[in-house]
């Protein structure tokens, strides 16, 4: 107890810097700040306002890193926001295990969430019998986007496997375009590796990675994935350093680059820019080669901090009702490029890419939880660091397998 006071003071000083207004209503801390994301958030804010709550927006421009740090400081200081964005999965559980999240079980039982949500999703927002977070929207990671115009100009067809992909890259480069809109940012590289591994080694290899089993790197599939990653690296343009994913999406929309490996939030970005993805639009969508029968998923949740005032708790419950409303699940997902978590909503209004994903998702074992859901922050970070290093200076696949697994084991 004695020691508790210092982190509190430090944290409240930080909190005082970050938020100055604290009126009645519900403060939502999030980092949905790109064009598609903020459109979706605006819809949710409107829904909350309609129910009579004031939406206090605390958008963190720096993404999950600073966002999570501010969240933890505010919680330690006893001044948590009303709701905070968090990736669905292990992060929510870890925070809940510290008794920092509240309980909205009554909303979930009243709203019959158990009937509406896939069991894995409901389980991932439940901690020791209490529902501690709202499942917001579901994303897929193993997407490949392409500029139709660039592919036509280079006279290549959308590739079906990785060999075709590399042959296409060569032709695209010869035609004067950037084959892959990639970035040196560590999370983008590590997700790309995950997608390649899933394509080469199938579902089981990916599940091994998601479980944090580092032996997967030295399997034939793991080694081949490093080779493919190094090949993609060769085609990267000079401007790839620290380039944001949305800037990569822009390269496709400007018909400067051919392919982008990115989750379906990129679709929200295409849509917000008036260049929707689909068989008729300027941007084509497909699952990355070799992953057409499963969907690597990750989800966004809004975690609900404990230790809030009664009126905030009431507002949290109304927020949960609003977010889980069937219309809202659809509207939000459409704006953001994602899919609704609710399985009981009409999906015929969704675009072609989403329809494709829904079909895959409905297959037995069609949904595979992604590393973003399963790997703890530290291990995920070490994995990203090691892969970014490989990207900067590709080594042999064998050496890469050793260094990546050593880095991850150190972080265990």
């Amino acid at each position: 107890m004695h020691f508790r006071i210092f982190p509190m003071i430090a944290a409240s000083a930080l909190a005082a810097m970050t938020t100055c207004t604290q009126a009645a209503g519900i403060e939502v801390l999030h980092w949905w700040t790109t064009a598609g994301d903020s459109k979706a958030v605006k819809l949710l804010a409107e829904g909350v306002t309609e129910k009579g709550d004031k939406w206090l927006d605390t958008a963190i421009a720096g993404g999950p890193g600073p966002g999570f740090q501010i969240t933890m400081s505010r919680m330690a200081a006893g001044d948590p926001p009303g709701a905070v964005q968090m990736p669905l999965g292990v992060r929510v559980k870890d925070v809940a295990a510290e008794k920092l999240l509240g309980d909205i079980s009554d909303v979930s039982s009243k709203g019959k969430w158990a009937d509406a949500l896939p069991a894995t999703v409901l389980r991932s927002v439940t901690f020791s019998g209490k529902v501690v977070a709202i499942p917001v929207t579901m994303h897929g990671v193993n997407w490949l986007w392409y500029s139709r115009k660039v592919l036509e100009s280079a006279k290549v067809a959308p590739p079906k496997n990785w060999d075709e992909m590399m042959a296409a890259a060569e032709k695209i480069k010869a035609a004067g375009f950037i084959p892959f809109a990639v970035s040196s940012q560590s999370w983008q590289i590590s997700w790309l590796y995950g997608n390649i591994l899933a394509g080469v080694g199938g579902r089981t290899a990916y599940e091994q990675l998601a479980a944090g089993d580092t032996k997967v790197f030295s399997t034939p599939a793991g080694l081949k994935a490093f080779d493919i990653l190094a090949q993609i690296r060769k085609y990267a343009d000079d401007g790839q350093n620290n380039r944001g994913w949305n800037a990569n999406s822009n390269l496709l929309m400007a018909d400067k680059a051919a392919f982008q490996f990115m989750g379906d939030w990129a679709k929200g970005e295409f849509q917000a820019a008036g260049k929707p993805a689909g068989s008729k639009g300027p941007i084509g969508c497909m699952l990355t080669p070799g992953t057409s029968d499963f969907y690597i998923m990750m989800g966004d949740a809004l975690a609900l901090p404990a230790a809030v005032k009664p009126e905030v708790l009431a507002a949290q419950k109304r927020l949960a009702e609003t977010m889980m409303d069937k219309d809202m699940q659809i509207k939000f997902a459409k704006a953001k490029g994602s899919l609704p978590f609710r399985t009981d909503v009409k999906t015929d209004g969704f675009d072609e890419c989403a329809q494709m994903a829904l079909k895959v998702f409905a297959k037995p074992n069609g949904a595979v939880p992604g590393t973003a859901m399963t790997l703890r922050g530290e291990i995920n970070g070490a994995y990203g660091d090691a892969l970014a290093k490989f990207w900067a200076q590709p080594t042999s696949a064998k050496q890469a397998a050793e260094s990546v697994s050593a880095a991850m084991q150190r972080a265990q």
Partner: protein, 294 residues
């Protein structure tokens, strides 16, 4: 005792809030952080003693070594370059030129910008696709290469470039104020003696400005140690983690990677580095005080 209280009581009462604030906020938090660095705290603080585990982990963490090595290069070069550039600018402005007020504002402007804006602007300037490299190539030098952001060896110098641009104005302002304080009689005397201007600066002005220069060195050293946002905005620590600095390492682990123990251990090592950097300036001050009383 009561006489002492009568004499200093009011002063103590006026000072006590700030003394208390300093004790709790600075030294209390430092003590807490040092303690946390000896625990296995992950997401939230834990208080079970774990010994040197976190320091041992830092010892064989390649990224930490890169970050500390970068700090030495970056910090040292930042001090040297901002001082050199700031001093030259200050001497230039001290020539009583006509548009001094305007130029002073121009040189100080970079400081008004946050590191995030500075970092983004320089990221664009250095971007090989549309920055300097592209411009020079378009001017008719198609083989011109300037891609520091993409080079593991040069990326930290790209950040240095932006930081020097950002910090030189402040050094200039501080040194200019120092130069203005130098008695004009000294200048007259040296002129009578026929001493060349450069020697006056080197052998008379610089020693007289030593306390001001020390201030600048400390300010820049702190800036280098604290650097975080400029790294995030410019390179994100990359390529790989070649442009990482300790500040970014600590924030990564204290935040998203949720390992408070390791972050605290790294922060303690940063603090020790700072103390080592400050010792020379303490010695300078100590000598001055002694010279003053002797």
């Amino acid at each position: 005792m009561s006489r002492l209280f009568r004499r200093y009581g009011a002063a103590w009462m006026a000072l006590s809030p700030s003394v208390l604030a300093a004790a709790v906020c600075f030294y209390g938090c430092i003590a807490w952080m040092v303690y946390i660095s000896f625990t296995r705290s992950k997401l939230v603080p834990r208080y079970d003693w774990a010994g040197w585990v976190q320091y041992e982990r830092l010892m064989d963490d390649e990224r930490w070594h890169v970050a500390m090595g970068n700090l030495l290069v970056f910090g040292g070069a930042l001090i040297v370059f901002t001082l050199a550039l700031g001093f030259l600018l200050a001497i230039f402005l001290d020539q009583r030129i006509r548009i001094e007020g305007f130029l002073r504002t121009v040189y100080m402007y970079p400081l008004a910008m946050s590191f995030v804006v500075t970092g983004l602007a320089w990221q664009w300037i250095l971007n090989p696709d549309f920055g300097v490299q592209k411009i020079v190539r378009d001017l008719g030098f198609p083989n011109f290469e300037f891609n520091w952001l993409g080079s593991e060896r040069m990326s930290i110098f790209a950040i240095l470039l932006a930081a020097v641009w950002h910090g030189s104005g402040l050094v200039m302002a501080i040194l200019l104020a120092g130069l203005r304080n130098i008695d004009s009689d000294i200048w007259k005397a040296t002129r009578v003696d026929g001493i060349p201007t450069w020697r006056v600066y080197l052998h008379i002005v610089v020693p007289m400005l030593l306390p001001v220069i020390t201030t600048c060195v400390v300010l820049q050293a702190l800036g280098a140690l604290r650097a975080y946002d400029i790294v995030v905005a410019m390179t994100g620590g990359g390529p790989g983690f070649s442009s990482d600095l300790p500040g970014k390492f600590v924030i990564d682990y204290a935040g998203e990677r949720a390992n408070l123990g390791l972050a605290a251990a790294a922060a303690v090592e940063m603090l020790l580095t700072l103390v080592l950097l400050l010792v020379p300036s303490w010695i300078v001050k100590f000598r001055q005080n002694r010279a003053g009383t002797a």
